[in-house]
């Protein structure tokens, strides 16, 4: 067919050329055939139709190109078919034609013609459909060439479509019954599959890839039989179970071909109804372990499970049916069997298989954790012998596997399953860590609460790689990732929550113990949230104590625990954070637990830290502000202890480096002498270990005056430094003015309108300075202050009166 001497051509070009040549011949013969049809010459028509069909004998074309040619021939044969019908109406029997076409000497054209006549023959009902079908499907054995045979049988399948003696079909009855229809399709299927499989073993090893590709292209021809089978109206479950499926499976298993098994199993699973699958699980699953080792059984199982799972969701009664059939047990057993029998199956695929099973379990039995555990056990058993830790793909699958129950069930409960840690243990350390992150994330996402010491301990076992450095692993996470991980843990801590504060205390202790093993790098992330949780617990204990519950853990013990915890943090060292925590603890001890000694101790620790470990002046300012703020609100202290603490704090404020800092700190300290009176409380009241609020007007005045002095000093300092543009001291004045106003409003009798008035003038003079006018922030601050005064003046109540004498 190929002409020589045209130089090298690529295989594609060759294909195109061959197809063209064949196609031309088909067209030419078709032309003569149609002419013969017009002339009503049967002999010639048959001759030329055979002539065009001979082109299909080519072995040169790839399946794709062959398909094009086939379609062309297919179309032409429709003319011939019409001609047969015409002859039939003129009185020629189909029996006669059926014989006549068999006189063709060449087998492939003969069989195409036979199928064509055969379909007309059945349609005419002159013979029983089953007889013709049986004959056709048998005669087609004459073509043993895979591609040609597949297309021929596909043609048979296509022309006989709708002519099968299916239940309810017009060809039923004398033409046969559903059994004949099934038989026909099954035989055709079997034969086609044999041909398809045979392709694999032809030609050289070199062409294997190409051949497999070609086979994939032909897969649907084979699968069509199964599709038609599934479309038979008469196919009921009994027939399916007793006849169809066993024969299909027999063929699938016995063909021992990877591609075919893979494709056909999928076909069966996708092609037939769910309830059929449910009833035949045993057969379907029984076949799985028998498949070739190259077959991706997990994909097959996955699609089966997927279908079943979706089926279960359609109707609750289905789940009962599942239970009745022990679907889960069967599936699990099948998976194990596959894993044991196919020793070469990659670990990743095994894992994927179990993922599917687990997914199925999760959606069908949302409340059956024991099933999950069983699956995990099976996974562990299957994967133990396969080295998963060096197989990145397997690892990935395992992580996915372990994540499934986390999403579907309560995380902590899942973790409590016997086999969960076993499976997790299969992972490489790095992956275990990844998994740990996942677990934490899921807990956070679902805001699952971890409610007992045991559970916390267990959880820590799982996320151990995040909590401590695991030996023998190179921790290559960078600082940022590490911080992310640890902040996850920090968030996790807040999920530890037991209604019972005793238990909560135990949880705290347990967590603390664990965290201490993590080293300073982690402690700075993990301890603060733990401390806050502890303080929160103190609150809850207090509430319960007041309610009169008998408790093992008192506020005191928890606070003591907190103390130790913060001390550990201070040793990290994380002085600033620790200081803040001490203050928070002190506040809690004072205002919640009302334990003066402990509160004092916390302040003491905070002061020590302030003195020893605060590295720079800026931090000092912040720390000091915090100390003052906290101390301001603490009311548990007796006058004496308070005196000491306040004294210390004011002392610190004078020792700050920068004048503005000093000034502001002194202002702040003034508040230490002027505590707020909570609403509904008298100035003189003291109850339950709470001291009355301190209100020392003189001391406040001393502070404010000192502040003014410092501000003046600052002004001079900037003058000396020739920093004319420096407005910071003016800002201080406005600040101080605000403090004055505050105390004025608060009713501090030392502050009279005249004192204020002079201060106002002082400030307004300073503000007249050009530089000040250019400082927008300062300008706004000042303006707002004035506005406030103006506003207050307008008030009708006592405050308005108070302000009245002031002139702006």
């Amino acid at each position: 067919m190929a002409t020589l001497g045209e130089g090298p051509v690529t295989p594609q070009e060759e294909q195109v050329k061959w197809l063209q040549e064949a196609s031309t011949n088909v067209k030419r013969n078709a032309f003569y055939m149609k002419r013969a049809v017009d002339e009503d010459n049967m002999r010639e028509a048959l001759k030329y139709s055979a002539g065009l069909l001979v082109e299909l004998r080519t072995s040169l074309l790839t399946p794709q190109k062959y398909f094009e040619l086939y379609m062309q021939a297919f179309d032409e044969l429709r003319h011939l078919e019409a001609f047969f019908k015409e002859h039939h109406t003129k009185g020629r029997s189909y029996a006669d034609l059926y014989e006549l076409v068999q006189h063709a000497g060449s087998v492939l054209p003969r069989l195409y013609l036979l199928c064509t006549v055969g379909s007309c023959y059945i349609r005419s009902k002159e013979a029983a459909a089953k007889e013709i079908l049986k004959d056709l499907v048998e005669m087609c054995k004459g073509v043993q060439h895979p591609t040609r045979g597949l297309f021929l049988r596909s043609y048979l399948c296509q022309v006989s479509r709708g002519l099968l003696p299916d239940a309810g079909s017009e060809y039923e009855g004398e033409g046969g019954d559903i059994n004949d229809a099934i038989d026909f399709l099954l035989v055709n299927f079997t034969e086609m599959n044999k041909l398809w499989v045979r392709m694999q073993h032809q030609g050289s090893q070199r062409d294997k890839d190409r051949r497999e590709k070609e086979r994939q292209q032909l897969a649907d021809l084979v699968g069509k039989n199964l599709t038609y089978l599934s479309q038979l109206d008469g196919l009921d479950f009994t027939l399916y179970k007793d006849v169809v499926l066993p024969r299909i499976m027999e063929q699938i298993v016995s063909c021992k071909d990877d591609i075919a098994q893979q494709y056909l199993m999928q076909c069966v699973i996708q092609g037939f109804p769910d309830e059929f699958h449910l009833g035949t699980l045993e057969t379907l699953l029984g076949a799985c372990p028998e498949l070739q080792s190259g077959v991706k059984v997990h994909i097959i199982l996955a699609s089966l499970l997927d279908r079943l799972a979706r089926y279960a969701q359609t109707d609750p009664s289905v789940v009962d049916a599942f239970n009745k059939a022990d679907a889960f047990g069967q599936l699990n057993a099948a998976a194990s069997k596959v894993a044991t029998q196919q020793a070469e199956m990659p670990a990743a695929d095994v894992a994927a298989m179990y993922i599917a099973l687990l997914g199925f379990t999760g959606s069908v039995y949302p409340d059956r954790l024991d099933s999950v555990d069983q699956v995990l056990a099976a996974t562990h058993a299957a994967l133990q012998s396969r080295a998963t830790s060096r197989d990145a793909r397997a690892e990935k699958q395992l992580v996915a596997l372990l994540s499934i129950p986390l999403d579907k069930f309560d995380v902590v409960t899942v973790l409590g399953l016997n086999n969960y840690p076993h499976v997790m243990g299969l992972l490489a350390p790095a992956t275990q860590k990844e998994m740990a992150v996942k677990i934490v994330q899921v807990i956070l996402k679902n805001t699952t609460r971890v409610t007992s010491v045991e559970k916390v301990d267990m959880l820590f076992d799982f996320i151990n790689p995040l909590i401590v450095d695991v030996e023998g692993t190179q921790d290559d996470t960078d600082e940022e990732d590490f911080a992310d991980e640890q902040s996850l843990i920090a968030r996790l801590i807040h999920q530890f929550h037991s209604e019972d504060t005793d238990v909560q205390h135990q949880i705290l202790t347990a967590a603390h113990k664990r965290f201490l093993k993590g080293g300073p790098r982690r402690l700075k992330h993990t301890l603060p949230p733990l401390a806050f949780l502890a303080l929160q617990t103190v609150q809850r204990i207090k509430a319960r104590e007041e309610a009169g519950d008998a408790l093992d853990s008192s506020c005191k013990t928890v606070l003591q625990f907190t103390h130790g915890l913060i001390a550990a943090l201070a040793a990290v060292p994380m002085a600033e954070t620790a200081l803040q925590l001490f203050l928070a603890a002190a506040y809690s001890a004072s205002e919640v637990a009302r334990l003066e000694l402990i509160a004092y101790e916390f302040f003491e620790q905070a002061f020590i830290l302030y003195e020893e470990d605060i590295p720079d002046s800026r931090s000092e300012v912040t720390a000091l502000q915090s100390i003052v703020g906290c101390l301001h609100r603490c009311r548990v202290f007796s006058a004496e202890s308070r005196e000491t603490l306040v004294h210390k704090a004011t002392g610190y404020s004078g020792k700050l480096l920068k004048k503005p800092d000093q000034c502001r700190a002194v202002c702040s300290c003034s508040h230490l002498f002027w505590q707020d009176i909570p609403e509904g409380e008298d100035a003189g009241s003291s109850a339950d270990g709470v001291q009355p609020p301190v209100r020392d007007a003189d001391a406040v005045m001393v502070c404010l005056k000192r502040a003014l002095k410092i501000a003046n000093a600052a002004q001079q300092q900037s003058a000396v430094a020739l920093k004319a543009s420096d407005t910071s001291h003016v800002c201080l004045f406005v600040d101080i003015l605000n403090h004055y106003l505050y105390y004025f409003e608060q009713g501090n009798t030392n502050i009279t309108p005249s004192v204020l008035q002079s201060l106002l003038e002082l400030v307004s003079n300073e503000m007249a300075n050009d530089h000040c006018k250019k400082d927008a922030a300062l300008e706004a601050f000042y303006r707002n202050t004035l506005k406030h005064i103006a506003w207050q003046k307008k008030r009708e109540d006592g405050v308005g009166k108070l302000y009245e004498p002031l002139q702006i």
Binding site: S93, Q102, V107, A128, G142, Q144
Partner: protein, 323 residues
């Protein structure tokens, strides 16, 4: 040539015409017989014990009377063999005198009839042997002017169908080449009528060669002579592909070969001690290197009773699968 001369008359020629007339009201049947090349000819058809009757018209050239020593018609059965060219063997010779010596003044018609003729052999045209029947009309005249004209007719004899089972055991055989190819084949009968269908199966027991296709040939073998002088000549009458591609072990390929489209005759055994005609089915397997593997198997052919033989009658109303 004689006719030609006769026809031209050369002064005193006669022309002879012969019409086969049906005896007792039955139609004259005809047979379409292959002649040289692709041509066919139509010949009157008779069978054993038929009566052969007709009319012979002897005409003179108008206005010229012809004297003769008698007119006769002979019925001859002749076997011609290629090996004995020019000496046909007459195995049957009957004669009817139509007219005593006399004159033909005007065209004259003679009727004749051979009753119940023993036509035991079929007409046959092969490569080496021919068996022919003819009517020879002779108008005897003086030396060199005798007019002889031959009119051929065809004879077919039918057999009753053989007893169903016992008479036709299937042909079954296992053949092969060691470690290479083993097949088992089966033809449903060993005796087929000419309109029959050969139904069978090829079962592949072992295939180690790459086959390309498989076909069945119908072969005819003529044997002439006997003993050491026997001569065989074979001819392939048909090729019928039954398989395309390479089968694997365990495949079975169906055979259904309709015999009717082919120009076959019954098997003839030792026709008048002169020749035999035998038929064979030759199963040929061709591999990818075009090597041929074959197995030849004789089958007996016979002609079924005329009633069934008539082409117009459908064999059975049911599906004609030939089984």
């Amino acid at each position: 040539m004689k006719n030609l001369f006769g026809g031209l008359g050369l002064g005193q020629g006669v022309s002879v015409q012969l019409d086969f007339k049906p005896a007792e009201g039955q139609a004259v049947r005809t047979a379409t017989v292959k002649a040289k090349g692709n041509e066919t000819e139509q010949l009157p058809l008779y069978t054993n014990r038929d009566t052969i009757a007709g009319e012979i018209k002897v005409s003179n050239v108008p206005g010229k009377k012809v004297e003769h020593q008698g007119v006769k018609v002979q019925l001859l059965g002749v076997i011609e063999l290629a090996t004995e060219r020019g000496t046909p063997h007459e195995f049957l010779a009957l004669v009817r005198d139509l007219a005593p010596p006399g004159e033909i003044i005007a065209p004259q018609t003679f009727t004749f009839e051979f009753n119940n003729v023993d036509l035991q052999y079929d007409s046959y045209r092969g490569l080496q042997a021919r068996l022919r029947y003819l009517l020879r009309v002779t108008v005897t005249r003086g030396y060199g002017t005798t007019t002889v004209k031959d009119f051929y007719f065809w004879v077919r004899n039918c057999e009753a169908a053989p007893a169903e089972v016992a008479g036709q055991p299937p042909i079954k055989m296992e053949v092969g080449i060691e470690e290479c190819l083993h097949i088992e084949f089966e033809y449903n009968k060993n005796k087929y009528s000419l309109k029959d269908t050969v139904v069978g199966k090829i079962y592949f027991l072992l295939v180690r060669i790459k086959l390309k296709y498989m076909e069945i040939e119908i072969k005819r073998r003529e044997t002439t002579g006997a003993g050491s002088a026997a001569k065989n000549e074979s001819e392939t009458l048909a090729k019928y592909e039954i398989m395309d591609g390479a089968p694997v072990r365990g495949e079975s390929i169906p055979i259904r070969l309709f015999l009717s489209p082919y120009d076959l005759t019954p098997t003839y055994k030792n026709v008048h001690n002169k020749f035999s005609v035998k038929y064979y089915l030759n199963l040929v397997l061709v591999d990818e290197e075009d090597r041929r593997y074959f197995k030849q198997q004789e089958i007996q052919l016979y002609r079924l009773d005329t009633a069934c033989d008539a082409a117009s009658a459908p064999a059975t109303p049911s599906l004609r699968l030939g089984g």
